[in-house]
């Protein structure tokens, strides 16, 4: 469903971060991206929904090149929602409003097409938000502000905020890296549930155990290119290139 062709990204025309990445992400696939820091793996993820504009190459989303600036990228960002390392929950909104904000806004904007009234949209979105909150066990925090939540709770809310838009793909940018160790588990548990539900996921992560367990395919990115990719078994048990062997010896 996503085809990446020779993707390049450089900052200020000088620093080349991505030097030609080509890959295909299939429907329902779970991809884990690993690699040393500064290798370009986060940049690659951020290029997928054009939060960082690619400077070369194509990203075909169901055939449409979303790297083209003329494309309505906001429409595609709703299909590819993102979860950040720093959560990026809206500090001025309650947990419930954080989740409801985008579905409400676009639901009301498109209400002519769907033939729903403003009130219907609101009721539907609210019900959905509550059911999502219940799934992660935070229904009692609906009216809390992000500043009143723990890191793990924030990230779980951020995940269902992304999920509330009914995305087709979810991008995770090191979702557990900013968390205290004891909170990593609760976030990974939510992500595992999500994976089991069949969601297409692209996850930049340092959690090797999680990558091995959940991913269908692992990409090892270093120096701006995909150095090696394969199933978890191939990558972890039988690494080919020296850089990957070196990397694994440091993190495992």
């Amino acid at each position: 469903m996503i085809e990446v062709n020779d993707l390049h990204k450089s900052f200020n025309k000088k620093i080349d971060v991505l030097k030609g990445i080509t890959t295909t992400i299939h429907d329902g696939e779970k991809i884990a991206i690993i690699g040393p820091s500064g290798s370009g793996k986060s940049t690659f993820l951020r290029c997928l929904n054009c939060l960082d504009d690619p400077t070369g190459g194509q990203i075909l989303y169901n055939g449409v090149d979303i790297a083209n600036p003329k494309v309505d990228i906001n429409f595609y960002r709703r299909k590819m929602s993102m979860v950040f390392q720093q959560f990026n929950l809206f500090n001025n909104k309650t947990v419930l409003d954080n989740i409801m904000l985008a579905p409400m806004y676009f639901g009301i904007k498109n209400r002519k097409a769907t033939g729903k009234t403003r009130q219907q949209v609101k009721t539907e979105v609210r019900q959905k938000a509550y059911s999502l909150l219940e799934k992660i066990g935070l229904a009692d925090k609906a009216d809390a502000y992000p500043s009143q939540l723990s890191g793990g709770q924030k990230q779980r809310v951020a995940i269902i905020r992304a999920l509330a838009m009914d995305p087709e793909v979810m991008l995770f940018d090191e979702p557990t890296s900013a968390l205290d160790p004891e909170m990593v588990g609760e976030v990974l548990a939510v992500m595992k549930k999500l994976a089991a539900s069949g969601m297409t996921m692209v996850i930049v992560t340092h959690e090797m155990g999680f990558a091995r367990e959940v991913a269908d395919r692992i990409m090892f990115i270093d120096d701006g290119i995909i150095m090696e990719e394969g199933t978890p078994k191939e990558i972890f048990d039988n690494p080919q290139c020296a850089r990957l062997k070196d990397f694994l010896s440091k993190v495992l």
């Binding site: 939060l51 906001n74 709703r78 990026n88 809206f90 001025n92 806004y105 676009f106 905020r161 838009m165």
Partner: protein
């Protein structure tokens, strides 16, 4: 009697006070003072309102992403504007505005209106910086979060960034208002009547300036303390909404 003797020691303060009181109350000097006070507040309030309008325009141009040529040109213009109004003394702006630009542009506005306009233009330069700082102090992750859920730049700005920036901006705007109040004390350069002119008028009748100017200082400090109190109350209510909700 003792009052007068004590007064002699302090430069005849008691006697001078009597003269001042006579001028202020019996000779209707208070009417001038009240008018001066009204003008001082009017210039500061209208100036701040104009300043906020200009500040919003400049700040939004400055924080806009600059891929296209038009925002770049506008941004340059804003820089020139801010550089001019922050780089020259207010007195100079007042004199140039009133004695140079006003006749050159054929405007027939009176001194008081000119002052409001010029103070507004001046304040706009400072307010724009306050607002730009307030917006930039919001975590860039908030913008990313907004863009990632498919909001346009402007939607994210209005729904997410600006509500958070306002909390940083409001207290500083209060300080700008205090600065404006104090800066009004030079509008006599172009012949507008403010607190300074009013008290000078009272003093001039008898060439007794000691008490009038002391009284002027007191009026200013009371005015500023009062505004400070208002700002404090406002800040507290902002913090409250932070906690309780």
């Amino acid at each position: 009697m003792t009052f007068v003797i004590q007064g002699e020691k302090m430069g005849n303060f008691g006697l001078r006070y009597q003269v001042f009181k006579e001028e202020l109350i019996d000779n209707h000097g208070y009417e001038k003072v009240l008018e001066g006070l009204k003008n001082t507040i009017l210039i500061a309030v209208v100036g701040l309102i104009i300043g906020i309008v200009i500040g919003i325009i400049i700040a939004s141009i400055e924080v806009m992403p600059k891929y296209r040529i038009l925002p770049k040109i506008l941004n340059r213009l804003c820089h020139v504007y801010v550089a001019f109004f922050r780089g020259t003394p207010l007195v100079v702006q007042l004199l140039v505005g009133y004695y140079v630009l006003r006749p050159m542009m054929g405007l027939t506005i009176n001194a008081l209106d000119s002052c409001m306009l010029i103070y507004g233009l001046n304040s706009g330069a400072y307010v724009s910086e306050i607002m730009r700082g307030g917006i930039n102090s919001v975590d860039p992750g908030q913008m990313e979060g907004g863009r990632a859920i498919g909001f346009k730049y402007s939607t994210t700005m209005f729904k997410i960034i600006i509500p958070q920036a306002v909390k940083n901006i409001l207290p500083t705007l209060g300080n700008e208002f205090i600065a404006l109040i104090k800066d009004t004390s030079i509008v006599s350069f172009v012949g507008a009547l403010d607190l300074y002119v009013a008290f000078k008028y009272i003093g001039t009748n008898n060439y007794e300036f000691m008490v009038p100017y002391l009284a002027m200082a007191l009026v200013y400090i009371v005015l500023v303390l009062f505004i400070t109190l208002l700002i404090k109350l406002m800040e507290r209510s902002l913090k409250k909404s932070d906690r309780s909700k």
